[in-house]
């Protein structure tokens, strides 16, 4: 069973936000408009923001400033704080190490959104809406089963959603391998953000395979994880700038 992981090389990232846009169209995240965004209702499964997020005295002032751009999907923690607190098991880690979110189960208590130290989880404050041209071009892919609704399926009001490493792409790749009667290979699938990345800064693959690109890169001396000391063991790995 592969253990999916993403490596983001901050040296190569140009902060173009292509990953955010690719994610938005792949996963049907709702559009909220500037007023709601001001209130913190914008949904960006894949966000791009300056680090440190909240400037301190150490950050300095223009022009003597230390700052970098950060691009952030879900960390898919091995020891995920969000899974531990969910009262109904609506969020869970699957056998391939992806932290999934079941929209048909979520009760909207938002304990996971408070529990996640990375702020990668989003809530549907209103019924999701798209303006006309967008509404006609939603991604039709769905991950659906008995009492299960995941992936890019349009979310109902009042549930939590998050990055799934494009779980529907994984399921499709698995289905294709099965249809062709062969074993699934770990290089058959990448999430939309990895596919689109302008600077080719994102790498995706199997962390359990010691020869995979992500395994090799995660051993790189430049590699680090966000809030490493929180003990969450993220599977999204960064390569330090410089």
């Amino acid at each position: 069973m592969p253990k999916w992981s993403m490596v983001i090389d901050l040296d190569k990232c140009v902060a173009c936000q292509g990953c955010s846009i690719a994610c938005r169209f792949e996963n049907n995240t709702p559009v909220v408009g500037p007023e709601q965004a001001e209130l913190g209702r914008a949904v960006l499964w894949n966000d791009v923001f300056p680090m440190p997020v909240n400037p301190t005295e150490e950050t300095g002032e223009y022009p003597n400033v230390k700052s970098q751009y950060m691009t952030r999907p879900c960390m898919h923690c091995e020891n995920a704080p969000c899974i531990k607190v969910c009262p109904v098991g609506a969020t869970f880690i699957n056998e391939e190490g992806i932290v999934e979110q079941n929209y048909a189960r979520c009760i909207g208590c938002r304990f996971c959104t408070v529990g996640c130290p990375y702020g990668v989880r989003y809530f549907n404050w209103f019924e999701p809406q798209w303006e006309t041209p967008l509404a006609e071009h939603l991604n039709p892919d769905r991950v659906e089963g008995k009492g299960v609704l995941e992936g890019p399926a349009v979310r109902p009001l009042g549930v939590v959603e998050k990055c799934t490493y494009c779980i529907h792409r994984l399921k499709k790749a698995h289905a294709q391998a099965e249809a062709e009667g062969r074993d699934f290979r770990a290089d058959e699938y990448v999430p939309a953000c990895v596919q689109t990345c302008t600077g080719k800064a994102r790498f995706f693959g199997d962390l359990d395979d010691p020869n995979s690109t992500v395994s090799q890169l995660s051993m790189n001396p430049r590699s680090f994880r966000l809030l490493e000391d929180a003990g969450t063991h993220p599977k999204t790995v960064y390569l330090r700038e410089g």
Partner: protein, 526 residues
Amino acid sequence: MLRVDSELKQKLIDPLFAPLDRNFILSAGVLLALIGWGALMYIRQVFLGLGVTGMGRPVYWSMYIVNFVFFIGISHAGTLISAILRVTGAEWRRPITRVAEAITVFALIVGSMQILIDMGRIDRLAFTVIFGRLQSPIIWDIISVTLYLLGSVTYLFLPLMPDLAIIRDNLPENVPEWRRKLYTILSLGWSGTKEQWVRLEKAIAFMAVFIIPVAVSVHSIISWILATTLQPGWHSTIFGPYFVAGAIFSGIGALFIAMTAVRKVFGLEKYIAQKQYRNLGLLFIAMNAIWFYFTFAENLGIATGQQIYEMPILAVKLWGEFAPTFWVMITCMAVAFYILVVPPMLKKQTEQRAFIFQPRFAIGSAIAVAVLAALLVAPNLVGAPVLAISGNAMVSTILWILLILIVFGFLLGVSQWLKANPVTSTVIASALVVIGMWLERWNIIIPTVTHPMLVPYATYTPSLTEISIMVASLAGLVLMFMIFFKLFPAISIWELAEGSVIEEAQKQVVIPEPEPSDTRRRWGLR
């Protein structure tokens, strides 16, 4: 046929059958209107979504959770007073147990409603039972709050049973049929035989012991909902005991207010007397001191550690945007402490009052407080400090402490009045504590959610929906209280009668004077 003392009947049973007076109807009408408005806003929220609140990312939890913690805290009045005092056999508890137990039940109902209101998908409530994960603190919370609610309803009902039988047997002539039925059914055929009394005492004794750990678990678990996350300011081991102590503290405050209201409305000055106020007041003072100790301990570690994610949260409380709520909370508690401790110790000064005890000193201090408070709150209103120097962290902290000292100056001036009106001053102190405890919940929850680790800092302003629902919740609590005491006696009749028998018996006991001993004489002691 159970008989009742005619004075008790006149004070406690007759008002239940008096026709509704204008004040009752008027206040019930106003409360119902507030509840109706709140319900309307809630229905709107269900259909439109939680977007109608002031919440957003990262402020995923806000005023509903503040109110949840606050109301459940209030509900700790009943357990403490009733159960602990019953277990320890404190005689003075007798006239106030009923009020205390009623607060528990009603505050618990209103409190657990807050969490339902906060849910994004109320239609999926049953999932918590069907798919409940025992590892989640929310499921611990559901279990302990449900147990506490069932336990406290039982604990309210058990001592009520003999009273219901007394009412059933002493009904006035022209009582409506439904009320006759109500008391007959609820009294469960109580006839006051010895066997029934033995069973009742056993049941009450069991419930009193059982409910104490349940109550402690309830507020511990509420604190652990916060403390089990990694959020800065919440991830703390002190939260369990801190929340339990705070809950008992605010509970006593609510109890003082409720019992004074009952005493005033029904004219029960004879039963709810100085003794109750003094003894419960001592408990109140102790809880106040414990609260200060915990608050200091909670923040000391953060202040000395100065960790990058935790320190900003303490900083906004001490001199940032949350300074007004933080320092007003501290002021409320300090003033409550003063009101309860200092005036009773002062000598009654009739003619020559020292300058600091004169009303004009109070007026002067009040003006100084107003000016200083305006100066300190202004940055939050106009967006910038009025005086450049008050924007400095150290200066603004010192100014807040100075403000509290001047408030003490005001209190010195009104000390004689406070001493002359012990009941009113206790109610003032209680109101301050209840407000202070609400602010405490606010200061714990909101600064942390607005200052997360990897999301830009945010601000939070409650929306009209949230405020309406909070007002409706308070109104609901008061209305339930009013209706309950229109149907059931405000003081446990049989426990009062039992108490007077015990008191009578104690008067018969003669304690002999100690005989003078050689040792005492040798040391010159008489």
